[in-house]
Amino acid sequence: MLDARSPLASAYSFEAKDIAIREEGGFTLTQVAGFGKGFEKSLAEAVGKLPARIGVAQANDAFTVLRIAPQQFWCVGEAAPAGLSGECLITPLSSGRCRIRVEGAHARRTLARGSAIDFDRSAFKPGQFVMTGIHHTPVLIHCVDAEVFHVYAMRTFALAVWEWLVDAAEGLVAGN
């Protein structure tokens, strides 16, 4: 078996008062796309209920499903969805994204120092996600809980995004 290696293998988790940043690996990310309602039906049978609109994540038993674009979904779970029909166009992306967990009372302000998104509790609630940018690179930010966020960063930029987030958190901790 080939050993898997994260691009954040050399990065250390950051923990300080009111903020923690660490990698949360061990997930399988599968992009499923298609045309018409047929593929959505097949996908729903495999992963459970689908979110109604873009920007909302649907947490089912084995999968969290994110509608990322018209006729495109991300399915995040321990394994890839099984039993999908031929109508589903499947693109594995588990290696292509790193998941960074940003947690704590400073989490929203940490993210606001990288991304021009309204992270206020009233505007960005658990279960919502946005596709935006941090440090000039595309990221998907999923609000998992009130003070817990998953930042899906592109693998090749993951360390740069990580360092940016940690630096932002350090600034907050220092009172800047």
């Binding site: 796309a33 298609g34 495109q72 166009l89 290696s95 292509g96 606001a112 021009a116």
Partner: protein
Amino acid sequence: MTAFRRLPGGGRIDRSRTLGFTFDGQRLFGRPGDTLASALLANGKLLVGRSFKYHRPRGFLSAGIEEPNGLFTIGEGNRAEPNIPGTMVPLSDGLVARSQNAWPSPAFDLMAVNSIAAPILGAGFYYKTFIGPFRKSWMFYEPFIRKAAGMGKADAAPDGARYDVEYGFTDVLVIGSGPAGLAAALTAGRAGAKVLLAEQDSELGGSLLAETSEALERWRTDTLAELRSLPRVTLLTRATAQGIYDGNQVTVAQHVAQGQLLHVIRARSIVHAAGSLERPLVFSNNDRPGVMLSSAVRSYLNRHAVAPAERAVLATNNDAAYSTAFALAEAGVAVTIAEERMAPAGDLLAQAAALGIAIFPNAGIADTFGGSQLKAVRLKGRHSVTIDCDVLAVSGGWNPAVHLSSHGGIKPKYDPAIAAFVPGGFAETHFGAGGTIGHFGWQACVRDGETAGKGALAACGIGKSPRAIDPPGVRDDRAYGIAVSRDPFDVSLPGKAFVDFQHDVTAKDIKVAHQEGFHSVEHLKRYTTLGMATDQGKTSNVNAIAMMAGLRGIGPEAAGTTTFRPPFSPLTVGALAGRSVGKHFRPVRRSPLHDWHARNGCTFIEAGLWMRAWYYDWAGPTPETAYVREMELVRKGVGIADVSTLGKIDVQGPDAAEFLNRVYVNGFAKLPVGKARYGVMLNDDGIVLDDGTTSRISDTQFYMTTTTAQAGEVMSWLEYLLQCHWTDLKVHVASLTDEWGGMAVSGPDSRKALELAFPEADVSNEGLPYMGVKDIPFGGTTVRLMRLSFSGELAYEVHCPANFTIALWEHILQAAAPLGIRPYGLEALASLRIEKGHVAGLELDHRNSLDDLGLGKMAAREKPYIGKELRFREAMQAPDRWSLVGLEALEPGKKLRGASILFAADDEIKGHGRGYITSVTWSTELNRFIALGLYQGGLRHEGEEIIAAFPLKNEQVRLRIVSPHFIDKEGTRLHA
């Protein structure tokens, strides 16, 4: 005898603590609640700097952000920041302040010799004097002029402060925390709106902070207490709104613990409550230390408990300044009022009389006396008396702070009732309140704020009606009486009468500008430099406009204002850059194999955002030596290179083949499953966009690779085509550049290497022929083998999900170790492809056609493809287009350099030449420098001798034009 003293009681300072600070190396003390300015005054430091041009002694004019004179360099070493108004610096323990533009000190400044030459240093002096006698004279004079005149100096060392940027969103942004701002914020906050209030001062309250009324202070503290209790209200101090942009984006720069934080705010509605700025009076020698704005004297007195020592004169043309006189008198200062108006209001006269204040109506100031400190003033008019004094407080009226409301392009308009400019209007979701719109009374400000707050709520769609704001328990507002003298200023009077204190622009300069035809306020500004520099004319503009209007015989409303632009106050560039400096200047992109390279003797090179493996130390200590050995390894044995940076795109769907057939110039519709094909795509203008190989994985799935440089552009192009042009095609595309890592296994022994690495897979010539593709299961994942060659040798690309790339790379290195396999880097990779004549990003310069690159014959004749029509337009078929050629150096001892300009043998070596070298390398096979280039007429000149010139080093090398395919033209090696 000092001009100021600290009062034994009163003020907002904390008398239980002492703060130590230094000014020009002298240890001084102040109190929490002091600003640097108030602490210096309390220490008797009236003279704090020298003026910009004439090096005249200067003291504080104001107590706020408009301060033109009292600028300091604050901090030490790499934390030193120049040109900071001492009025805006809260005193802190250990603070270090240095004066500027004075040597050796403000008290004894050798550059004051400039004053001797003052008569010839008027407006336009530089433009007229230093333009000659030679064409480049200005370049000679400029360093001396800049040294003699100027402000603080920025340190050349990297800035030690920390700068952050934070994005914020709010329903209502309130700018200013005076009574209007607080009332607006409370109104909006009570209705449940999300409110952000930005205050530039270190305390909240604005003009209320300079008052001693218990009722006003109670109103302020009660309002703040309620605001602080509202969870959706945020109050920022030391936070200056610097600019307002489209879409209600506002930048607010806030001083924080270790530097500054730039808030980039999107507000649904904005309340402008920035207040107003008092303007000075213009008279002879109005710049002596001790001449201060009336509001500043009141602020230092009431807020900081710093009062003139014994005697003060107040010169005014309006009622508002009387409160300063009354406060001074109540503090035991002897006060005389020089009233420019003939008849001040009766109630003011009565109150003044009760406090023993002498009033000289129809007076004003003729001149002042003193050196480094004001000693006396002489009144003008009938009462031409000279009065000894410590301080002269002046008030020429109030200017609403119209700067921010003008950023959107709405010009201010003149309001004769207050003799000042007010906002010319507000954008739809903006509201003004209080001093900003020319309303100066406490009650009016609170009413305005409440109204603006309600307007902001409505603009946000918040229908809830908040509870009314309780007005402050003070008497009703009295009218703001002001009468501006329309007498033209007599420039023949002795001494200089300053209009712009910071740039030493006098009333006489304005007259000179008028005489020379610079009548427009914009021309006046450029000719005299009035209104420039760090204060941007906050105290000078309106006086100057009024003077120019008077000289032109028009009203100020006709003269208009100059254009207000961000930032509102000086903003260090670091605050704009934020954390995008140094390590974070731009994101670094790392290959999945990056960590392995870093551990195994690799030297990296930046290629765009990528950090790419350049060469390895096993091959040599320098790139010049290493890449040659790495090339030899590939030509004679087997090497492995990281090609993960190639763009990789998943193309899926029932119409994927048809889609690619339209995108590429050559056919892809019938590409068999398990085969790859080299393809070129054009932009719709017929120019080459990119090339690469695309493999067919199944009937409905393709695996496209692009050049590293064009990966993003190609992905965007494909999405654009599918979403905008061919919406009928059932195709999805997804970037796999991050998902898949790749490595090239190249060289005559590469097949043997794969056989050792993947013994279960058939990689024979039959099992995996040239341009063959197969996916194999290996090590718990999928490995994609593609027989492709970039080097011209027998070669393969091995791709796999990026998580496993390092493990797979190490496995191949270990399995093929008996063959002597080693890694090779980008330098060798590029050199190998030059020998083979493969074009890459350097040749694809977004100007060339298929035919320019010698690829015209691969385009399909029958099928349509993007760019086909425009590819054949006349200019694209011209015979003298710059086209791809191979180049061989003919002079063995000379180095051939990339980007050299190409000339025909008998051309004069001058200008742009006939082409240029795109890629160059030392050829290990040919034992000479070879290159690819674009040359006018291309291979029609094959065999000709030409010249490559590199003007930067004055080098020329003779070359011969040859085929770009330097090795293995028949393709024997890669088909082996």
